[in-house]
């Protein structure tokens, strides 16, 4: 049963400034409980905005550090879920359910990637 990392990508410029509504938080909490009860969720968390992030880069043998926000990237990772599923189809189904708890004015992308084992 492979593990999958779902990277939740949002556009910080269009994401609602007031953040998630209480109703969304409630629905999200219920869903996370359901995914955990299914024995699927291994770890999940949301991230602070990229304004508080840093990029540390290695290029041409040189290190550089860039402060956020990362405005040149349209969608940045705003959270993640690490899940253990039978297959990609199941991981995608959970991602769909995660997306569907959001109101219509949200634009969110889940990038679902299988983790290499061994």
């Amino acid at each position: 049963m492979p593990r999958y990392l779902s990277m939740v990508r949002i556009d910080e410029k269009t994401a609602p400034a007031e953040g998630p509504s209480p109703e969304l938080m409630q629905r999200m909490g219920d869903l996370l409980e359901e995914i955990t009860k299914a024995g699927v969720m291994l770890d999940t968390a949301g991230l602070l905005p990229t304004a508080q992030g840093k990029r540390v880069r290695w290029e041409g043998g040189e290190l550089s550090v860039t402060d956020g926000p990362f405005t040149e990237t349209k969608e940045v990772v705003g959270g993640y879920a690490l899940m253990q599923c039978k297959d990609m189809a199941e991981a995608v189904e959970w991602a769909k359910r995660f997306l569907k708890v959001h109101e219509e004015h949200w634009t969110v992308t889940c990038e679902v990637r299988e983790i290499t084992e061994g």
């Binding site: 299914a38 995608v92 189904e93 084992e117």
Partner: protein, 444 residues
Amino acid sequence: MTPQPTTGPTPDSDPAPTPDSDSTPTLTSDSEPGTAIETVFRMESPRLIAGVARIVRDVGIAEELAQDALVVALEQWPRDGVPDNPGAWLMTTAKHRAIDLVRRRERYARKLAEVGRDLEAAGPYLDQPSDPDDIDDDLLRLVFTACHPVLSAEARIALTLRLLGGLTTTEIARAFLAPEATIAQRIVRAKRTLAAKAVAFEVPYGPDRDARLASVLEVIYLIFNEGYAATAGDDLLRPALCEDALRLARVLAQLMPKEPEVHGLVALLELQESRAATRTGPSGEPVLLKDQDRRRWNRLLIARGFTALGRATATATGAPGPYALQAAIAACHAQAHTYEETDWSRIATLYALLVARSPSPVVELNRAVAVSMADGPGPALEIVDHLAAEPALRDYHLLPSVRGDLLRRLGRRAEARAEFLRAADLARNERERALLLARAEEGD
């Protein structure tokens, strides 16, 4: 019953099995495999069967009705679109059919009084999403029913994987190296037995609760061990049984958060599974605990194992149970950054507690190994010599293997060599035999 740290080779889970689209529910119709509908069904299946079983009181019939709901979905969803809450849709459809069936079938007339109550109880839920707590209760009833002691261990394992693990009969057969017809028969007979013995669809309370829970934990543990004992070259479905068992254990811990031994089992399996990638070498040969690359142990699973062990401790009212003790031993290994740092005296103490709690010659042998590491080969040899007459270990290759090791450390080389040769004769597979023969021939 303790998983041996030096157990036989298991295939590395590298590369990860590619998602296969063959894992479809057993359908009589020739539906397309791998569709989103079937994925949803497979995910919802345990809860559907559990919810319906509460109405019809028969897991076999419940499974058929859940399949019927899938057939309806396969007809309607492609035409009308996937409903907003596909799980609730399937549940409502399946429960409606269950109630129709109960009303229609005469053979339920005898149970009408009882069923009438069930219908009233089910009534309000039919047109709204089921309360999560109700679903949890139903799921727990299904767990206890599938693992009921009226069934043989083999039947319990097959039924649990089928109804709760979401495995097809084909997958179970492949994983257990058994003909598909055998497994199919086993499942059919198990369902019949449950019906014939009128096993109540309920979570046991009262005096037999502990024994019933032990039966559930044992089923999950045996599934894990089957995967653990898989050898290189085996179908990938075999080692995958470890993960199926782990998922079942994690689900059970959510359903029974107050049961210390459930958390103990989760902790044990998480910690065992954290070493999966390092238990075999490049050509599938077994790698002993002391030779494993600890940097490749899975930190996430180790952390989860420690969390579960903490829950086992926090929920315990008395002394730790056998699963929590085994998990504590596994935790000692996980905590040691190198083999040399292993806290053997703590492990020896934990094994002593485990032997006192549930006596077993295999566990006693493991205790001897820990004692040999903590206090030297002399005291350990005394323990092993006491086990020599143990009928349960007569053909167990690890007894002469451990004894050979102790004798060699004591400088009694000729005796050691004889023990290793005896162990090689008893070894279960070629790789272990080769390893033991090599040990017989090596010098100090």
